[in-house]
């Protein structure tokens, strides 16, 4: 936590430093009509501080992605509110970076041009951001690949490009929707290490969605456990493992303790279902 002051300065204006970056209150989302409708999310409350890494973990169909889409301003909430730096998220905003499960790169753009897509869309200074892009590509180990096309890269490399693209316009928060779900287990562990390294260096506020319990515990400062139908936050677990965390930490008793605490919610749920 020694680099926290630097974090605060980088992520948000000094005056707002004490306030949470994200503040979600009584957030509810239902689809369809009132009677036959489906409740995807019910009364979600949480706050995320500047530079905090929060993982939301839950089984398929618990409304994780719905929650993320609301945070991204892609879909509206039915009730309650979601604030980013004190202002409600009602539509897509320019201070959010998103990473999806697939890299979602444009094959007709080079790596550099893919990374600069937010600059093109938001008409930012391309020349200035070009330097930032090259620095970030270097940070994720893609130095020298800026002129390549996405199809020339491996899946893991493509996802790194997607992460750099999400960081390029210096967003207030990074939303990641199972970004490593499509990768093989080995690459996935590698990407977890990589993401931690990037995060330690950049200290963005991150909301990371996953259904992998070890991934959530390994990466996050706090893990929000969600239960399905309707999606609720069952528990918030602060993960107090020192950073940087190595992959070895996964086989330590404290790590196992956290993982067990998360899993407990899902096994309880399984018992309920039976």
């Amino acid at each position: 936590m020694s680099s926290l002051p630097a974090t605060v300065r980088e992520v948000m204006p000094a005056s707002a430093a004490a306030d949470p970056v994200i503040s979600v209150k009584g957030l509810t989302k239902s689809y369809g009509g009132q009677a036959g409708g489906v409740r995807a999310l019910e009364a979600i409350d949480f706050e995320i501080g500047a530079g905090e890494f929060v993982a939301i973990v839950g089984p398929s169909g618990c409304g994780k992605t719905t929650l993320l889409k609301i945070l991204a301003g892609l879909i509206p909430a039915s009730e309650g509110s979601a604030l980013l730096r004190g202002t409600p998220i009602l539509r897509p905003r320019r201070d959010i970076g998103m990473v999806f499960q697939a890299p979602v790169l444009f094959p007709w753009r080079t790596v550099l041009d893919n990374v600069l897509l937010p600059a093109d869309v938001q008409r930012l200074d391309r020349q200035r951001l070009r330097a930032t892009a090259l620095d970030l590509l270097c940070l994720v180990g893609l130095e020298g690949f800026e002129g390549r096309y996405p199809w020339e890269l491996s899946g893991g490399m493509q996802q790194r490009v997607a992460i750099v693209r999400a960081l390029i316009h210096d967003p207030a928060m990074l939303l990641m929707d199972e970004p490593f779900g499509a990768l093989d287990a080995m690459t996935r562990e590698q990407m977890n290490l990589e993401l931690q390294r990037i995060w330690l260096e950049r200290r963005k506020t991150v909301v990371f969605i996953t259904h992998s319990i070890p991934e959530a515990v390994f990466l996050a400062d706090r893990v929000l456990v969600m239960t399905p139908r309707p999606g609720r936050i069952a528990e918030t677990i602060a993960v107090e493992l020192p950073r940087p965390r190595s992959l070895d930490v996964m086989s330590t008793p404290p790590f196992g303790g956290y993982a067990l605490r998360v899993r407990h919610h899902f096994s309880a749920l399984g018992a309920l279902d039976a």
Binding site: A72, L74, P92, R94, W108
Partner: protein, 265 residues
């Protein structure tokens, strides 16, 4: 597959077929008005070209084809875009379009001559009418083919609908557009020839008609040779543009089989 040896074999096979044709015509003494030997076709071709009559008429047909293609392709692209982007437009327009698509457009040629005269305009209109369908259909399909995740990414960046169109939908549609243009080009050539058959004062179609009238089968074959070469060149012009524009498209090599959707003639 594409080694020099195979290329040589392909040429050799073609020459062998032509040789066999020549041999059969001579051996069985087939009358020249039924099936001319390749040698008489070459002679007819030489005479026609040296008297410039082929060149002049080929130029006219080429002009009709290219202008018809340009008009039909623009119309097809604009209509396709309108349909792809506006549900309302689609709702009101689609029934008529489907009906029109089912109609054999060549059957309209006599009417078009009646309305636009025997000159160049009627040829352009016929060619355009036939050419516009494949491009319109491909434009609709192509513009709607944009990946949902990519659309969401653009939206999450606060992109306007216009930006989504220019930066995502249009490039995503390019493989479909190029396939549509390839078909449209050949269709335009068909349209031009059909219109010339019906009524015209010049063009390769007119030449075929008059050669047919005078029983010059070798001459007809020599015109067919010109048409085949013309079609091939027009097609490869589009194909070379496609290769340049679609360097990123993995399905590029199979695009002629995979994504091509034509209309009816």
């Amino acid at each position: 597959m594409n080694t020099y040896r195979n290329a040589a074999l392909r040429v050799l096979l073609m020459l062998a077929a032509v040789g066999l044709w020549e041999l059969c015509v001579r051996a069985f003494a087939v009358p020249v008005y039924v099936l001319p030997a390749p040698s008489s076709i070459v002679r007819a071709f030489y005479v026609g070209v040296s008297r410039l009559i082929y060149v002049q008429n080929a130029w006219i047909t080429l002009e009709e084809t290219l202008l018809g293609f340009a008009a039909g392709a623009s119309l097809g692209f604009m209509l396709g875009t309108a349909i792809a982007l506006s549900r309302r437009f689609e709702y009101f327009l689609y029934p008529s379009i489907v009906m029109f698509q089912a109609l054999p457009k060549v059957a309209l040629a006599p009417l078009i001559i009646l309305w636009f005269g025997v000159g160049l305009p009627s040829k352009i209109v016929t060619a355009a009418l036939i050419a516009f369908f494949p491009l319109m259909v491909n434009t609709v399909v192509g513009l709607r083919s944009a990946d949902e995740d990519r659309v969401n990414l653009m939206r999450s960046l606060d992109a306007s609908e216009a930006q989504i169109f220019w930066m995502l939908r249009l490039p995503s549609a390019l493989p479909f557009l190029m396939a549509g243009l390839e078909v449209a080009m050949i269709f335009a050539l068909i349209g031009a020839i059909v219109a010339e058959f019906v009524s015209a004062t010049a063009g390769l179609g007119v030449l075929i008609n008059s050669l047919n009238f005078s029983g010059d089968t070798a001459g007809i074959f020599s015109i067919l040779l010109i048409l085949a070469v013309m079609g091939l060149l027009l097609n490869s012009a589009i194909a070379s543009v496609r290769r340049r524009v679609l360097f990123w498209d993995a399905s590029q090599k199979s695009v002629t089989e995979g994504t091509r959707r034509g209309g009816t003639l």
